[in-house]
Symmetry: C2
Subunit: 134 residues, 2 copies
């Protein structure tokens, strides 16, 4: 794993959260993007080599609304950048981690992603992500 690519934070209202994190970082978000398949709208901030991704639910059955309903707003997942997502998925499956998708899927910010089940990672929702080469 190359570095922390981003931290995902579940928020109720993206506009308010954008304003809050702009005050926190002293700098505005650099993009917003809706990921239809995940029923979320995302917003990204840069912090040096890392990013913060705010996540607002678009639908009541999105994973983010369920998460907020259960635990409130807060840190939702850690995403690690990897060089070869398929090799890393195979290695982690062999190590006993449970993958939430069998094949890499298209995520926000031009990435192929895969999530690991938090029950196999000490309660931490871990995302692997790899930039899609154009």
């Amino acid at each position: 794993m190359v570095r922390i690519e981003h931290i995902g934070i579940a928020v109720k209202e993206l506009d308010k959260a954008n304003e809050l994190f702009t005050r926190l970082f002293g700098e505005q978000q650099y993009k917003e993007e809706t990921v239809e398949s995940e029923h979320v709208t995302t917003s990204f901030f840069k912090v040096g080599p890392n990013k913060i991704e705010l996540l607002e639910a678009n639908a009541a059955d999105s994973a983010i609304s369920k998460y907020i309903g259960k635990r409130g707003e807060g840190i939702h997942h850690i995403a690690f950048e990897v060089d070869d997502i398929e090799a890393e998925m195979k290695r982690l499956a062999r190590e006993g981690f449970q993958l939430l998708n069998e094949k890499p899927k298209k995520g926000a910010d031009n990435k192929l992603v895969c999530f690991l089940h938090p029950k196999t990672t000490n309660g931490v929702l871990v995302e692997l992500c790899q930039e899609i080469k154009s």
Copy 2:
């Protein structure tokens, strides 16, 4: 803010968690350290320019035991590296964020640290940290 310095993860049993995160990263922790003032034992993994800090409580009244009692194991805080912690604390107080300590205090890994109250940061426990120069 320069980058994500580390992510703090609350765990019940540090030995088991060290073994799990070693399998996740394919690399062992590079140090363990007890922080008496916080009643925690910590363990650090490197992931490129970032770190993961595992936190196990040493005492029933430590913030980490309370956190695990309420929410279970999982991501506890995000720490951002800053160049000048006192200036950053003043800036954030002016912006309306609530600081949990008025002066920087000594944290793990040779750092001066300050925490922001999660009620002012969308439920996210934010730590500022600055390397102590020898």
